[in-house]
């Protein structure tokens, strides 16, 4: 490779190659493949989630230039961003919409992994790290929802933290720490802000790195049928074939985001007033609606437990089972696999139905 001044790009590459094992990385990238099977389309949602996360980081940093995270200033600063900062409305709307699309995309990614049984050995930790990532994203959503300090967010946070407080033994201390006191007040906002822009991003970065590391180490899951029929095995190179297709979807996603931001910009509502009564019809964001709705159907008491305590116990048990799926279904007993798959379908129907009921309630 020439290092002549007439070819500066190559000169730079050569300079880097002299110092770093770039060649090995290029070789690895050249040989990285992605399976082409009936469910190949669903592989793209992991990448779409990552793309939306990068948009979140970019727009989040821009919003932080103007956002003021205290109860006295938060609402006005968001109003200023929406009304006065050039393209502030766009940045805020894209941030809000990409957060929703990202969680939606992560749900699709998780269920596609589930139904393709990609959680099985050796990918147990990939599955678990993915669940942690989803939990962190829900935490991002919950903490970010309060930041504009408007009435809806204020009371939704009150309801949300009330639910946390129902958890036996540890619930109340957690609720107290989250709220910064007995109630949701101006002290709550800086805590949520700190979680949203410091703790959660740090944890998310670590877990994304771990999640990607596991995927690169073990490769992308291949359809089970290929084990019995290796002749059916078909793959495409990650670079450039899969990457270009992923890029195509990213562009489409970006355009969808732009359309949503222009036609349905993020609303601000009215400023939170801790002393005003809660308005009617307070609901959490759509990704918490199923939990919210489920708890509403709980009776007042179940045995010695409060209805909400019992509901949370059920949800926690279900979540634990969901985490343990790789160990429940190891692929050794078709009957167990069938039960797990049917349970997955039922969970999907259950979550969708409750979300819909919560939306129309």
């Amino acid at each position: 490779m020439s290092t002549s001044p007439e070819n500066p790009d190559r000169a730079l590459l050569a300079w880097a190659k002299d110092r770093y094992p770039i060649g090995k990385f290029v070789e690895w990238a050249k040989h990285k493949t992605v399976p082409i099977g009936p469910g190949a389309f669903w592989y793209y949602f992991g990448g779409i989630s990552l793309f939306l996360f990068l948009i979140q980081v970019g727009t989040g940093i821009l919003l932080m230039f103007y956002y003021k995270g205290s109860a006295d200033t938060a609402f006005e600063s968001v109003r200023f961003i929406s009304a006065k900062v050039p393209f502030g409305w766009l940045v805020r709307s894209v941030h809000a919409w990409s957060a929703n699309l990202m969680i939606f995309s992560v749900f699709i990614h998780m269920f596609s992994v589930f139904f393709m049984r990609a959680y099985r050995k050796p990918r147990e930790l990939t599955w678990l790290s993915g669940i942690v990532l989803l939990a962190l994203l829900l935490g991002f959503g919950f903490s970010g929802y309060l930041l504009p300090w408007n009435e809806l967010a204020f009371f939704a946070t009150k309801v949300g933290t009330d639910i946390v407080g129902v958890i036996p033994v540890i619930g109340e201390p957690i609720m107290y720490v989250l709220r910064g006191g007995e109630e949701v007040t101006g002290s709550t906002l800086p805590r949520f802000f700190a979680l949203h822009v410091a703790l959660f991003p740090a944890l998310l970065t670590v877990f994304i790195a771990g999640h990607l590391f596991f995927i690169q180490m073990q490769g992308i899951h291949e359809p089970d049928a290929w084990k019995a029929h290796p002749e059916q095995r078909k793959t495409m190179p990650f670079f450039p074939h899969f990457f270009m297709r992923e890029l195509l979807l990213w562009l489409i996603t970006l355009n969808i985001l732009a359309v949503l931001a222009v036609f349905f910009p993020a609303e601000l509502g009215i400023e939170a007033d801790p002393f005003s009564p809660a308005p009617a019809g307070i609901k959490p964001e759509w990704y918490f609606l199923s939990t919210f709705e489920f708890l509403k159907y709980m009776p007042a008491h179940v045995g010695p437990l409060e209805g909400e305590e019992f509901g949370l116990l059920l949800i926690s048990f279900g979540f634990l089972l969901w985490c343990l799926v790789p160990w429940i279904d190891r692929g050794r007993h078709p009957r167990i696999t069938k039960i797990v798959m049917v349970a997955g379908v039922l969970i999907l129907v259950f979550l969708s139905t409750l979300t819909y009921l919560g939306h129309v309630a």
Binding site: I36, R79, S82, A83, W89, L90, K234, T235, M236, P237, P240, H241, M244, R245, L247, L248, L251, I252, L254, N255, A258, V259, V262, F263, F264, P265, E267, L268
Partner: protein, 432 residues
């Protein structure tokens, strides 16, 4: 006077006799011992209470909640008698000062005996005024009582006799929202009032008035006036013409100030017109409307001003100007709503609208100055705010157009990029 007689004749009074007054403070041990002996839940009343509990006349029951009972004042303070004696004859025997039922005149003396005594009251209820009786004698009720008319209201008529409660107790008949109905017991009774030559429609009118609705429907205890706020309570009397602006001005101070400084104040005085009442009415005071002005027949100003007169022209100016301002609000609201419905932030525009609305409210108050230059100054401020709101609305709609244009351009660019990537994918080496 059934409203007066029923409770009034029961109330106690040996007020002018210093010996009979409750000299001891509420914490007095003797009173507590007496209550304990009678078993009447620590309330003073002794054997009087024991007997009256059994007669079922209701007096003893009312006494349970009476502020005087709670303050340790016993029956003998007003009625005399010996509360230690279980035998009724002995309790009421000669020499005990027993008075039984009190006449209306005796009631005022009995209550006033303590409540007018500064030394007595300042150690028991220091914040309570002590001029009630003095004012009462200046009231129409008091004046008639002095003349021997016993059908007039005295202390017990309004406060009750044995169930006297604090004024701010919602169960008290003199708690603000209860006052109109309490006064109406006599003043809305045409038969009862027939000898006094007073109208009896005040209560009906008041309940339909802006004040009545605020007090009785919205329970605006602190803001809305009851009968006593205008007429006085202990010194109740119809306000004189000279007093009206001051009475209304107690709450509507700016309006009163503007009116007293206006050219209409001396003119009203000259014609003996009752200031505020001349235009707004008395008990049936409703929300003002811009249509009240103007020069059409029936308009308020036409009561005095003929069409074409200076006053009538000013009224016409007010009504036309306000009409124009209101119409501008409708146009601005339509514009801002259109922008908001399409997702645009119009908060700043709404702030200008709010400022203009505040201005209009102030302008309506400024009518009381009856001055065109004063009004013009305010109208300039209103129109500036309205213009700014309009500008915000148009800017929001323009920004919306710009956003959509920007979206179209970015969509085209993204589409172009998408096509390039798609072509690139097609030109990639085939997958093996």
């Amino acid at each position: 006077m059934r409203k007066v007689f029923a409770p009034a004749l029961i109330v106690a009074c040996v007020a002018l006799s210093a010996d009979a007054r409750a000299e001891d403070l509420p914490a007095d041990a003797g009173a507590e011992d007496l209550a304990a002996d009678t078993g009447a839940e620590d309330l003073p009343g002794g054997q009087c209470l024991e007997c009256h509990l059994s007669t079922g006349d209701g007096v003893a029951e009312l006494w349970q909640d009476d502020v005087h009972a709670r303050a340790g004042i016993g029956c003998e303070t007003c009625h005399g008698g010996d509360p230690v004696q279980a035998d009724s004859e002995l309790a009421k025997r000669r020499g005990t000062g027993y008075q039984g039922e009190l006449s209306p005149r005796e009631i005022t003396s009995s209550c006033g005996g303590c409540h007018s005594d500064v030394e007595y009251m300042k150690v028991r209820k220091p914040l309570l005024p002590v001029d009630q009786l003095e004012k009462y004698w200046t009231s129409e009720h008091g004046k008639l009582l002095v003349k021997g008319e016993t059908r007039v209201a005295q202390c017990a008529s309004c406060h009750g006799a044995h169930g006297v409660r604090e004024v701010n107790d919602a169960k008290s008949p003199v708690y603000a929202p209860n006052i109109p109905a309490m006064c109406a017991q006599c003043h809305a009774d045409a038969d009862y009032m027939s000898d006094f030559d007073i109208e009896t429609n005040q209560y009906d009118e008041y309940t339909q008035s802006v004040h009545g609705k605020a007090l009785l429907e919205k329970n605006d205890v602190r803001g809305a006036p009851a009968c006593n706020d205008c007429h006085g309570n202990h010194g109740a009397a119809p306000p004189s013409i000279d007093a009206i602006t001051n009475i209304c001005g107690a709450c509507h101070s700016y309006n009163a100030e503007l009116f007293l400084g206006s050219p209409l104040a001396p003119a009203f005085k000259e014609k003996s017109l009752a200031d505020c009442v001349a235009c707004h009415g008395k008990h049936f005071i409703t929300h003002t409307r811009d249509e009240w002005e103007g020069d059409k027949p029936g308009a308020t100003c036409r009561k005095c001003h003929e069409k074409g007169e200076e006053g009538s022209e000013l009224a016409l100016y007010f009504t036309e100007t306000f009409g124009s301002v209101r119409q501008s609000f409708e146009e601005i609201e339509a514009l801002l709503t259109e922008a908001e419905m399409q997702g645009m932030d119009v908060t700043e525009g709404e702030d200008y609208v709010e400022a203009a609305r505040q201005g209009l409210m102030q302008a309506r108050t400024l009518i009381h100055s009856f001055s065109k230059p004063v009004m013009e100054e305010k109208l300039i401020e209103i129109s500036e705010n309205q213009a700014a709101a309009l500008e915000e609305g148009f800017a929001a709609l323009q920004a919306l157009k710009d956003r959509r244009r920007g979206l179209a351009i970015s969509t085209l660019l993204l589409l172009l990029l998408t096509i390039i990537v798609a072509i690139k994918i097609r030109t990639l080496p085939p997958i093996e």
